[in-house]
């Protein structure tokens, strides 16, 4: 049920949503919008909604869904125009999963109704999204996950699968479309869920058919995090704080209208989400010394009494590697802008993890006696994820997660070896057997 994601008909005579041809026209469009919507006097949420409706949220999205169908590269002109005017922001750090993963997935695989229902409050920050993928028993082997979603047909519908037959209830106001029917009862445990305690929606991958090989029996849903049967508990990590959560699903009900993509197509939809996750981790232009190396270099300059020849050698290696990684990120962005997307994003994520770990380890050692102290072990619930915040000890501990989260460095090396270099995969024993028969 892949829907057409092309530009939508905005009705005859609606010239406001026709695309400006040039960056200059686009800047003019922003000026006109700002003239009609005073950011200083309008309530921030009203302003953000109006900006979305004017197609100035993400210009590469289709008209009617916050965009104008323009090239992604033109977005920076819009953002700059709003920033200069001091316009309210949608707090992208808080809604990163929504912007980076949920939105592209909904755009690519959601129904028209789902796009209209979810994208606007996602972008304005009214509704936070989280990702319900990993499980205690399914980390790197995500496709082996065990959370079950069982279909419950509508009471008058005797067909137990019921999904492609005719005569189903027509979709309600929030329905996914004519092929949606009944609801799903979800049971299982998810883990490493950032923002689950703030989220309205979760991107849920669940097993709908245990009798087929593991990749084929998965289905993708949006799970309402406020319904009965969804319990969120903080998951404390080695830094002492709880950025993440465990989510326990006990018969939580998901209407079939909140299914994204066809039944059994969940793996393909999830691949799209994960691809966007790696793009967003590799992204973000930084100035020289803009990443973790910046604080190490500052400490070095401010504390000559801490210098040793061995630390100097390590610092210079790390500085050079960090600067080359930054150039590599610039090159990746140029490739994307030129329409030549390459596989270099996987390299960026690997290098980012290694450098963060080595630089923060260096910082703790450079601090000497102060490196023996730690700011605070008490359980905190941070609003946003920070790799660079607080003291060197925190950065050292937090960076250990960089080579685990969003695909371990080992899995990334497999992906590079197989998809980039074309090397054969290890012999597999798990891809042709029904999921229920796999050893676990």
């Amino acid at each position: 049920m892949l829907e057409d994601t092309g530009p939508e008909d905005t009705g005859p005579g609606d010239t406001r949503l026709t695309a400006p041809a040039t960056v200059g026209d686009l800047r003019e469009r922003v000026r006109e919008f700002l003239a009609a919507h005073d950011p200083a006097s309008m309530p921030p949420l009203e302003f953000l909604r109006a900006r979305f409706d004017a197609g100035l949220a993400w210009v590469h999205y289709p008209p009617g869904l916050g965009g104008l169908g323009l090239p992604r590269a033109m977005q920076s002109a819009v953002d700059a125009g709003f920033a200069v005017a001091g316009a309210p922001a949608n707090n992208p750090e808080r809604i990163g999963i929504g912007l980076g993963m949920a939105a592209p997935t909904i755009l690519a695989f959601g129904s028209d109704e789902q796009k209209r229902r979810w994208l606007r409050p996602l972008w304005t920050g009214e509704e936070v999204w989280c990702q319900l993928f990993s499980e205690p028993g399914a980390g790197s082997d995500l496709a082996g996950l065990a959370t079950r979603a069982v279909h419950i047909p509508d009471s008058h519908d005797s067909d137990s699968t019921g999904l492609d037959s005719t005569g189903l209830d027509s979709a309600g106001p929030d329905g996914a479309g004519p092929d949606s029917a009944g609801q799903w009862e979800v049971t299982g445990q998810k883990v490493w869920t950032s923002m689950a305690h703030q989220a309205r929606w979760g991107l849920l991958l669940a097993r709908t058919d245990p009798d087929v090989p593991k990749h084929q029996g998965l289905t993708y849903f949006a799970c309402d995090m406020t319904v009965a049967g969804v319990e969120v508990r903080p998951l404390r990590q080695i830094t002492g704080e709880a950025e993440f959560n465990e989510v326990f699903l006990s018969g939580a009900v998901v209407p079939d209208s909140d299914r994204i993509g066809a039944v059994g197509e969940g793996w393909r939809v999830a691949q799209g989400t994960l691809m966007n996750e790696r793009v967003s981790i590799g992204g973000g232009a930084l100035p020289r010394e803009g990443g973790m190396i910046g604080s190490a270099a500052r400490t070095w300059r401010e504390h000559p009494e801490l210098h040793t020849p061995g630390l100097h050698d390590r610092l210079l290696r790390l500085w050079a590697d960090a600067e080359v990684a930054r150039l590599s990120g610039e090159r990746l962005r140029q490739q994307l802008a030129a329409g030549q997307p390459g596989p270099e994003g996987s390299a960026a994520k690997l290098v980012f993890a290694r450098l963060n770990q080595e630089i923060s380890a260096f910082e703790v050692e450079l601090a000497g006696a102060d490196g023996l102290r730690y700011e605070y072990w008490g359980l905190r619930r941070p609003e946003t994820v920070s790799f660079y915040g607080r003291d060197a000890g925190y950065r050292y501990l937090r960076a250990r997660g960089n080579s685990i989260e969003g695909g371990t460095s080992e899995i990334l090396r497999n992906i590079i070896a197989e998809r980039v270099l074309g090397l054969p995969s290890e012999p597999r024993v798990d891809t042709r057997v029904p999921w229920k028969d796999l050893p676990r």
Binding site: W319, A347, L423
Partner: protein, 393 residues
């Protein structure tokens, strides 16, 4: 330290024209026999392939890439020159492209020596800068303990024509001097300057050295009262040598990038063919991960090499930082790729008949050429304001 941070980033991609140039150079280098002919040549009296060099220099026009059109060159930039260097490295080609078309040309462009430049562009002259291959930028010259030049200007003979000087001294381990018709010699004395010495001049000895890298055989130079012409002297000469070493380090980095990519390509294809334990050995995760790391190192090095070429091309003030980054990262990527190429080929990779050793020797030698990675990181420490306080504790 803020240089290069706030300005617009130059393009780090390859243009269509650069891709076309690459294809032309690669096709010539492949047609001329590839590595088997390089390997065979290493044990002959002519380790440099002068026929191949003529074709590359004059027919494809690589000798005059950097020389302006009004002096007979192609008027291209270091971006294009770097692409040729990548291909030369990929083929471990025994040609003096780096020494003549890059290093000597950069010095002569800075010194504005029209005559030699026109001959270089026409492919009728091959020139080498007489500095030790291991010398890294910035140039330690004139005279920091004779590190760069052991040559002095001595008194002219009574019968010498006006303007002719005489040089005496030695320079060890010079790259690309063997096939050169003219040597550019930095000499201390009065005036300290850059001197042109004809290869046939009396008193000049160019002695081949048994070199770690026989695809770029070095030579020891001895000058005994040799007649020479002063090309440029004083501060301008220092600038010329400085420009030559910077360009040399950056284009050598591009060579290393090309040879690293070739080592990776060779190893990947071998690991798909080779079977052990009834499997392609390339399906073993322990080997796949090592090749993934090589690929990652190359993607990083490529960005640095492109940035250095772009900075040189536009005369960017960030050039010294860019060149140091490129030389350090490309040297290490090339070494990693060549060492993994030998190891992952197993026994065959350790034999003389397999090309892996050509790449290993060139990678190791080139990692020392125009400054080791360590040398360049130390330079970054100065440039980025990250010096070490005091001596060792």
């Amino acid at each position: 330290m803020s240089q290069g941070a706030s300005r617009d980033m130059p393009s780090l991609l390859y243009s269509e024209a650069e891709d076309d140039l690459r294809a032309a150079v690669r096709s010539l280098l492949d047609d001329r026999g590839g590595w088997p002919s390089v390997l065979a040549r290493t044990e002959t009296d002519e380790p440099y392939d002068t026929g191949l060099w003529r074709a590359l220099a004059a027919d494809v026009g690589c000798a005059g890439l950097l020389i302006p059109e009004d002096q007979g060159g192609a008027g291209a930039s270091y971006r294009e020159a770097a692409v040729v260097a990548e291909e030369v490295g990929r083929a471990v080609a025994p040609v003096p492209y780096l020494g003549s078309a890059v290093v000597a040309t950069a010095a002569l462009l800075e010194a504005a020596d029209t005559t030699l430049l026109e001959n270089l562009a026409a492919g009728t002259a091959t020139v080498a800068l007489a500095v030790p291959f291991a010398a890294g930028p910035p140039a330690a010259w004139p005279s920091v303990d004779g590190a760069l030049s052991g040559v002095r200007v001595v008194a002219p003979h009574r019968a010498d024509p006006a303007g002719q000087a005489r040089l005496t001294g030695t320079v060890a381990s010079v790259a690309d001097a063997l096939p050169a018709g003219v040597l550019l010699v930095p000499a201390d004395g009065v005036p300290a300057g850059l001197y042109a010495v004809d290869r046939a001049a009396p008193g000049l000895t160019v002695a081949p050295v048994v070199s770690l890298d026989m695809t770029r055989q070095l030579a020891d130079l001895r000058l005994d009262d040799v007649p020479a012409r002063c090309v440029v002297s004083g501060e301008a000469a220092v600038r010329a040598v400085q420009a030559a070493l910077l360009a040399g380090a950056a284009m050598l980095a591009a060579e290393q990038l090309g040879s690293a990519q070739r080592c990776l390509d060779m190893t990947v294809s071998y690991l798909k063919e080779r079977h052990q334990f009834a499997r392609q050995v390339g399906s073993f995760q322990a080997l796949k991960h090592r090749l993934a790391d090589v690929w990652v190192a190359i993607t990083q090095a490529r960005a640095a090499a492109r940035y250095a070429a772009a900075c040189l091309a536009s005369g960017d003030p960030d050039t010294p930082v860019a060149v140091a980054l490129a030389k350090a990262s490309c040297s290490e990527a090339a070494l990693l790729a060549a060492q993994e190429c030998v190891q992952l080929h197993g026994g065959i990779g350790f034999t003389w008949e397999h090309p892996a050793h050509l790449f290993l020797k060139r990678a190791k030698s080139s990692s020392i050429g125009f400054g080791t990675p360590d040398w360049h990181r130390a330079a970054l420490g100065e440039l980025a304001g990250l010096k070490a306080a005091g001596g060792p504790r």
